[in-house]
């Protein structure tokens, strides 16, 4: 049996979702954003809600997500995606509304909107792609940057406090990595809070299940924010090749941001 005999429509087991347009992603090679876009589109297609979904894209690398999804989209000001999603969901309660944000958008400038949307318990799905750096603007330090991680604005590595000596010992400097997902899991307004990754097939499958649950909860009318954090890479600004960046992610990001469900059906998961 030759390859040409196998490549026939009846033998197809996997292809890109029909809810993605044919426009090539502008993301860097190996960027997790593409994988997250793909699995969101697959989930929406499987749930059959593509024609009544409204996404809200952020400011950041994913700012042009509306070009790639074949669903309705709104573009929010920097950090305000949950606020825009709140408005859309309140006007159209029967639509499926999701926001898609990066860490600079959701955990830095949009912290206020994130926390208050989660505190109000809006019935929306929030997708949070955390790569620990400001990707689009050239790799500056984000609140989620790991301690010791070198970025454009912390060339000697992020330091929580100023180094010892010259009387500066213990004075706050860059602060600690912000665990926004654990933070909002404590709020009664959140229904489902989880952290996933997309660097290998097993974790992509888990992340897809989590995103599916987040959308199903919203469709089933369980009020409360469904929040999925995806720990992703930024190989361009981490200055690594894509495969090396995924390895670095496993060794450095995952100990700081452990994967798994944090809150399921409104109850914190005991660990």
């Amino acid at each position: 049996m030759t390859v040409q005999d196998i490549i026939k429509p009846e033998n197809l087991v996997y292809q890109k979702s029909k809810l993605l347009t044919n426009k090539p992603f502008h993301y860097c090679p190996g960027c997790g954003h593409g994988t997250v876009h793909r699995i969101i589109a697959e989930v929406l297609e499987e749930l059959g809600v593509g024609d009544k979904t409204i996404g809200v894209s952020p400011v950041g690398c994913a700012v042009m997500a509306y070009d790639y999804f074949d669903v309705d989209f709104a573009e929010a000001a920097h950090g305000r995606a949950p606020a825009v999603a709140t408005g859309i969901k309140r006007v159209w309660p029967d639509k499926v509304v999701f926001s898609y944000q990066g860490d600079g958008d959701l955990a830095a400038i949009g912290t206020c909107e994130t926390i208050h949307t989660c505190n109000r318990g809006e019935n929306i799905t929030m997708i949070f792609v955390n790569n620990g750096i400001y990707g689009m603007t050239g790799g500056q330090m984000a609140p989620t940057t790991l301690e010791g991680m070198k970025t454009a604005t912390t060339p000697y590595g992020r330091k929580a406090t100023l180094p010892a000596g010259a009387g500066f010992d213990g004075i706050p400097n860059n602060g600690y990595p912000l665990h926004i997902t654990e933070l909002i899991a404590r709020l009664p307004g959140t229904k489902y809070v989880t952290r996933q990754a997309v660097y290998d097939p097993a974790h992509v499958r888990n992340a897809k299940k989590a995103i599916r649950k987040a959308f199903e909860n919203q469709i089933n009318g369980k009020s409360g924010v469904n929040f999925v954090e995806i720990v992703s890479n930024c190989n361009s600004n981490w200055k690594m090749e894509p495969v090396a960046a995924n390895k670095w992610l496993v060794e450095n990001m995952l100990p700081e941001y452990p994967l798994g469900d944090i809150k399921v059906d409104g109850k914190l998961v005991e660990k």
């Binding site: 049996m1 390859v3 005999d5 196998i6 490549i7 026939k8 033998n11 197809l12 087991v13 996997y14 292809q15 890109k16 979702s17 993605l20 090539p24 992603f25 993301y27 860097c28 090679p29 190996g30 960027c31 997790g32 954003h33 593409g34 994988t35 793909r38 997309v198 660097y199 290998d200 097939p201 992509v204 499958r205 090749e241 894509p242 495969v243 995924n246």
Partner: protein
């Protein structure tokens, strides 16, 4: 002898040659080509088509969704 045989088709012009599919292929079927596509990326291709089992691991990790996976019963 496996009772299934797989094959992939890569959308060469959209492939960015990141190599994530290469390391995630359990049967080491995929390699990056020596040739480049229109954008100058070494695209992924089936270097050893006989070994492919059609597991779709490459398809589900591909960040650009360029890989379609086919699987046929022998």
């Amino acid at each position: 002898m496996a009772s299934f045989k797989g094959a992939i088709s890569v959308d060469i012009e959209r492939c960015k040659g990141c190599g994530v599919c290469v390391v995630n292929c359990p049967m080491n079927v995929i390699s990056l080509a020596k040739e480049v596509n229109g954008k100058g990326y070494n695209y992924a291709y089936m270097a050893e088509p006989d070994k492919c089992i059609g597991c779709a691991s490459c398809g589900i990790v591909c960040p650009d969704g360029v890989i379609s996976v086919y699987k046929a019963k022998l």
